[in-house]
Symmetry: C2
Subunit: 164 residues, 2 copies
């Protein structure tokens, strides 16, 4: 109504594109900072989960990170080649592969403690702003995930959605 349809393609771009750009900008900063540790950003995320939760099967790791085996398998192979984690099949359930930190992987945590401060400094945002932003993003993710599971049960914006 208020916006001509022709402008929608610009408005639309701004939402998703801003998110995409911010995500890649973060990636750029992490890339610089994590280079000292020999890690990529996704590898760092995997280690964060392991440092916090200890040994985990690949399945649970993917649950925490929202990643599937197609992404995690080669990534974990590289972390194992770097000597930071070790993979071993569970004896109870041989389908499951448990990911365990090596001594080097555990030790790397000490050096990683520097990372958050440097990232926070790079953003220039204070803690409250960050927390607020995070909350909104998580709400957005939840809504989008739900929408992705159902194909498109969204009623047109006109008309009251009395259908429920």
């Amino acid at each position: 109504m208020t916006t001509p349809t022709a402008d929608w393609l610009r408005l639309d771009q701004q939402i998703c594109f801003s998110l995409n750009a911010a995500s890649r900008a973060f990636g750029g900063v992490y890339r610089v900072i994590l280079k000292d540790l020999g890690l990529t950003y996704p590898q760092y995320l995997v280690l964060l989960v392991l440092w916090e939760h200890g040994d985990l099967p690949v399945k649970d790791l993917g649950g925490h990170l929202r990643l599937d085996s197609g992404t995690l398998s080669p990534l974990l192979k590289r972390l194992e080649a770097a000597g930071l984690v070790h993979r071993e099949r569970s004896t109870l359930d041989e389908r499951s592969v448990r990911v365990r930190l090596t001594e080097d992987g555990t030790a790397l945590r000490e050096r990683a403690l520097e990372v958050p401060r440097r990232i926070a400094a790079a953003t220039g945002f204070d803690v409250d702003e960050i927390r607020d932003l995070r909350t909104r993003l998580d709400d957005l993710t939840t809504a989008l995930d739900k929408a992705a599971r159902h194909p498109d049960r969204t009623p047109p914006p006109q008309q009251g959605s009395a259908g429920a």
Copy 2:
């Protein structure tokens, strides 16, 4: 001060990870919606720019999207194979390659007008919320880009930043 150093690795994870997760969640929704148009999300972004600005050299396209030729070259090759754009070297400056929409590429815009409405519906956010979020994300991107260019000239977060 307020947070034990050991918890920083969790706080840190939440900011960047929320952003990353939201970005990928958006990607998932776009993937479903754009499948009808035979486009990926980055390809759609390229077309958005071309629909808005008309013909552009690869360089300017990358400027709008914050992407370099390493990403754009193969992407544009695929768009050209799909018959949506055409590439031709400029006669004035033969280093430059101009990207031009074909008739099919121009016509696709009509069908793309549906996309923003479906995306907006998927988020469940209203226009003001979206705009506010976008503003913050753009601020974040600006800060991060600046920080990425300078290695690490950020003073410790204590001390009032009276410097301005």
